[in-house]
């Protein structure tokens, strides 16, 4: 008996019903793959963003930890300042491998964007900033000519937006200050791309913040000393210490409820898909009761009937799984676009990371799901008694 051909024929009799069931499985698989991909991608991008900070610790003025996390990742504005004497006191600590002071300031330019103004982010840095971020390479130009020079180095995107080249001028609105661009960094894929860097002393002078800092980035010689080091720093008044682990935890906490909800939706979708497949095949078995009776009367064994029905379920799940992984893979950029619109903070890089192994696992789960979902309808059909089945189908 050609089991495959009979199973295909049975499914093609009700094309719309079969297609809808396959569609339901596909959507469930796509949701599962996308959410698993998001989970992996988000953490991966966040880790990458944090690694790219180059710090183990960031010392900031006391304030809201979320604000500090934002400062650390986005270099945000509306900031608190601390005295640079803190830097002077800790710079010679033997446990420190690299350390850099920084002063972030954002300037609102009312004429920057017609009708709504625009913020530009400036960061005062010293050369030690490059020690902590060795991947920050110059695409054009070079470092500042002096520690108090009226010069700027632009992040790649900042230069692109302002259409600046080395030697051009930039104007800081509100401060009435003109700086000369001496360098443009290569694209880093981080928030640094949108920042305009100026010498720390120049930033303190221009923004009227002499002796002030917004943060101190620290990399320790031995990461295992971090807890003790952090504890020692808390003896300094008016500061707080934010470690990488804390930042990572804060950000993950912010998105964890969204992730939990999305995970529940995926599980429900899978559950509904299983019920849908079982229901479809069961309906088809009830509709074909007489036919199954005739098949058995003509010599088909219970195993043959079982195989046919089981195969139908498996084909539906196989095709649904296939369509689902294609849908998830091709739609990942759309999902990513939506996530970026709705989440408060999204790291740079790919947010939905779909590995081939994830696609394979999702596909296998779907096929196994088909095999399980098909057992009951297949058993029911195979146990039918030919005479009764023919009679009840009349």
């Amino acid at each position: 008996m050609k089991v495959w051909s009979v199973a295909f024929k049975n499914l093609s009799r009700k094309k719309i019903r079969t297609s809808l069931t396959i569609g339901g499985v596909a959507v469930a698989v796509a949701v599962l793959v996308s959410l698993s991909g998001f989970d992996a991608g988000y953490q991966r991008s966040l880790d990458r963003d944090i690694d790219k900070l180059g710090y183990h610790l960031l010392v900031t003025a006391k304030g809201c930890p979320y604000e500090a996390a934002t400062l650390m990742l986005k270099g945000g504005g509306g900031l608190r300042y601390m005295e640079d004497s803190v830097y002077k006191r800790i710079v010679n600590d033997r446990r420190i491998d690299k350390i850099t002071p920084q002063l972030v300031s954002s300037v609102y330019n009312q004429e920057g964007q017609s009708g709504r103004g625009a913020f530009t982010l400036y960061m005062g840095i010293e050369k030690s900033y490059l020690d902590l971020k060795p991947w920050s390479k110059f695409k054009y130009g070079h470092w500042f000519s002096g520690p108090d020079a009226d010069e700027a180095i632009m992040g790649y995107e900042a230069a692109e937006v302002e259409q600046r080249s080395v030697g051009d001028k930039i104007f800081i609105p509100g401060m009435d200050k003109v700086l000369t661009v001496v360098g443009i960094f290569e694209r880093a894929g981080t928030q640094d791309d949108g920042v305009i860097f100026i010498p720390l002393a120049t930033a303190q002078r221009i923004f009227g913040l002499e002796g002030k800092l917004t943060g101190i980035g620290i990399k320790l010689k031995d990461i295992r000393t971090i807890a003790k080091f952090e504890e020692d720093l808390y003896n300094e008044p008016g500061i707080q210490v934010v470690s990488l682990a804390q930042v990572r935890g804060t950000i993950l906490n912010l998105v964890s409820s969204a992730r939990a909800m999305a995970g529940s939706v995926a599980l429900i979708a899978i559950f509904i898909a299983i019920i849908g497949v079982t229901n479809t095949i069961l309906m088809s078995v009830f509709e074909r009761t007489r036919e199954i009776g005739v098949m058995k009367a003509l010599g088909a064994s219970a195993a043959d009937v079982f195989k046919i029905i089981w195969l139908e379920t498996t084909i539906i799940c196989f095709l649904g799984g296939l369509a689902g992984v294609v849908l998830a893979f091709s739609g990942s950029s759309i999902i990513e676009h939506l996530i970026r619109r709705f989440l408060p903070y999204t790291p740079a890089g790919k947010l939905v990371f779909i590995k081939p192994s994830l696609l394979l696992v999702a596909f296998l789960i779907t096929v196994i799901m088909g095999l399980v979902a098909g057992i009951y309808p297949a058993l029911r059909a195979s146990l039918m008694k030919p005479i009764e089945a023919i009679r009840s189908g009349e």
Binding site: K9, S12, G112, Q163, S333, I334, H337
Partner: protein, 208 residues
């Protein structure tokens, strides 16, 4: 029967693949190189043309419209070389066709232009013959930005077209006292904008 079932599955798959490809292309366009788009098209179109009922957006690159030959032609017409980094051949220029019902009543289009102290975004609204109906700076960095962005200055360009810029004699004075580079940059940007409109939109429409 089996064949027809497979055919229906394959045709369904084809629709899915095409839809996915279209969506991917759309999103790739969003992330493409830096062009000059309106900050808030819904708001801006309605503000400039209160009688409008909608708009249609089109992104066109010189590469797609005519390649290297067109790039050179535009440079020649402009009378200046394009910046190889910021005015590359694949920059997508945005054109917003303003609709009143089904009728196109005007086009809004912008360009980025290097200014003395930062990038400028020059937005023009033109009629169907390319005459300027409105002009504003969407972005500008300059100590004298206020003078440039003032209506008294920008409104002087209303009624001008590409021919006026090619002749270069329209008697508009530099509003600034120390930023003549920005004035020259504005004229260059507006001329570039009108040439692009002519080459990428008006000539194409005339050929139809």
């Amino acid at each position: 029967m089996t064949r027809s079932f497979c055919r229906s599955i394959i045709s369904g798959g084809r629709v899915l693949a095409i839809s996915a490809a279209v969506l991917l292309l759309f999103f790739q366009q969003l992330y493409a190189a830096v062009g000059c788009t309106l900050n808030d098209p819904d708001r801006d179109v309605k503000r400039i043309f209160p009688q409008s009922t909608g708009y249609r957006t089109e992104f066109i690159t010189i590469q797609e419209a005519g390649g290297q030959e067109l790039y050179k032609k535009i440079e020649k017409e402009l009378g200046d070389k394009f910046d190889p980094v910021y005015e590359a051949i694949d920059v997508p220029y945005a054109f917003y066709d303003v609709l009143k019902g089904k009728e196109v009543i005007a086009t809004i289009h912008g360009v980025n232009q290097k200014g003395e102290y930062g990038g400028m975004q020059l937005i023009l609204a033109t009629d169907l013959n390319g005459k300027i109906l409105d002009f504003f700076y969407q972005k500008m960095s300059s100590p004298e930005a206020g003078r440039f962005m003032n209506k008294n200055f920008t409104s002087q360009f209303i009624g001008l077209g590409l021919n006026d810029f090619l002749k270069g004699n329209f008697g508009i004075k530099d509003p600034s006292s120390n930023s003549s580079e920005d004035f020259q940059a504005t004229l260059r940007g507006l001329k570039k904008n009108l040439i692009l409109l002519d080459e990428l939109k008006l000539k194409k429409a005339a050929r139809r």
